[in-house]
Assembly symmetry: C2
Homo-oligomer: 308 residues x 2
């Protein structure tokens, strides 16, 4: 099979750090174009808009959409209408309904739509899932605390309505938790803390349960300086499981079981090639559905203004 | 077929006004029990909890759950586990994920789950849908403005987190709009107005579009005194369609096309009997998904405190 001719739309930090190296290292792909209002990828044709790119480069088979979520639907719709497979960075959209609409369009055209969740491909995630399936889980605690000034400096879109605020990293935790726990979760209570000058929350505290009343809690906070935490801790009949560093490192009862270098984006692009070849889609909306549920069910609390 | 032995859970105003008369008038049902913390239905066995009722009255085939949405999942789960069909008042739950969980449970047990949307059964809704399918729609405007003090006096649950505030009536509009428009909608912007002393919004302004960029707007307001509005207005190539009074009355270019007495709840119970007999479920989450999307994507604005 000849390589998938792929194009990137929305050339920013995540594209340079992750997408370009992952595509370059995978012989299933050939990167042939990019479209971006500001960014440029060296050595290929660059365009200011996806429309201009699709018209000029008909050989494109698939597009990877990496612009902020508020702009993703229009680009995805244009690409699907033009007969291209679509890779969506996380979160897959600004609303659940728009992604459901894209899914229906992809299905009707026999194209592959991929709602990617990179944290699900962190190295220790599958081993954590296998461990949890082997025992009885008694409680789960998610602690996702990072310094927004360090990780998202001056990213205005992330603070705008639809940018999700602290749920932008938090949804990574949710993408792991919904993958490794045996039963579907749902939120029973949430508190969202909004800086008085922002439309998106800077912190959130969430309580979940499943059908068996498993207690699951999550603390998301963007005000963390010093040690950064991306941990999922489960108390089980077989002891305490700690999935740390965003899914990279697994310990059980303090014993390190897995600690290998991460290769999330290479794994994402392997998965996308797999579904394109198989002629199917991979769109799991559970992480975004939990975020929407948290906003709908949650109490709002106002905290001091945030300035970058 | 012998009648469906049905029980009511959560005996309040909507049960007395709508459910009891609808059940009494339908020979497909026999009402045999009720469970409620405070309310009582005369002439049948009454219990304080659904658990006590299900244990004492094994002949129950189906339950109709009419308590506030924040308490609905636990009761629905108990009923499904006990092998009973379930009718959910609107909204079907406090979160999307819990309803998805109930749907999976109902499917696994071969039971019928009905997420009821009473406004979809308003008398002129089907005719409005047929009209819109016959022409080109150019814009749609939803105006749902009512006096909360009149319609929901001292209903504290409606103002609590998860009670949805003005989206409790607004979701009726959304249940109609999502039914009568030809394509799936999604929200592109929203503003939610929260009284400074409440956890749920008193007003909301929403902009939607569909894949064809049809402009759809909705104004929900609970501060309306005087004339109450529950109108859906569509500008089309065949003229202006006004679906007024919550779906009861249809006019096209000022000419009244339909104005018959409403029988929403009788129609809901007919539908529930139909799906129970057919061994299937009817769970459309689109209206609740739009509400969750509005909370997730919407800007929050604070307005003066609300006191009943």
């Amino acid at each position: 099979m000849s390589p998938i001719n792929i194009a990137i739309v929305g050339v920013g930090k995540i594209v340079r750090d992750q997408h370009l190296p992952a595509i370059a290292a995978n012989s299933d792909y050939k990167l042939i174009a990019a479209a971006s209002r500001h960014g440029v990828v060296d050595g290929i044709d660059n365009f200011k808009s996806i429309e201009a790119m699709l018209e000029a480069v008909p050989a494109i088979d698939a597009v990877s959409l990496c612009m902020p979520p508020q702009y993703r639907y229009a680009a995805a719709h244009t690409a699907l209408q033009a007969g291209k497979h679509v890779f969506l960075e996380k979160p897959p959209g600004a609303t659940l309904s728009e992604v459901a609409d894209l899914q229906a369009l992809a299905d009707s055209k026999g194209l592959s739509l991929f709602a990617s969740w990179h944290s699900r491909y962190a190295p220790a995630v599958e081993e954590a899932k296998a461990f949890l399936a082997s025992t009885k889980i008694n409680s789960v605690q998610v602690i996702w605390k990072e310094d927004v000034r360090h990780w998202h400096p001056n990213q205005e879109w992330i603070w705008a309505a639809g940018g999700l605020g602290v749920f932008d990293p938090g949804i990574n935790a949710l993408s792991i938790v919904t993958h490794i726990l045996p039963k579907q979760l749902f939120i029973t209570a949430a508190t969202l803390e909004f800086p008085e000058n922002r439309d998106a929350p800077i912190a959130a505290s969430i309580t979940f349960r499943d059908a068996d009343a498993l207690p699951v809690s999550a603390e998301f906070d963007w005000r963390q300086t010093g040690h950064q935490s991306w941990d999922i801790i489960a108390e089980t009949d077989a002891g305490r499981m700690v999935l740390a560093e965003g899914g990279a490192k697994l310990s059980i009862n303090g014993e390190l079981r897995k600690d290998t270098p991460e290769r999330e984006y290479p794994a994402l692009y392997e998965r996308f090639a797999e579904i394109v070849k198989a002629g199917k889609s991979d769109v799991d909306l559970a992480p975004l559905r939990h975020v929407a549920d948290a906003f709908m069910l949650g109490k709002r609390k106002f905290v001091e203004a945030f300035h970058d």
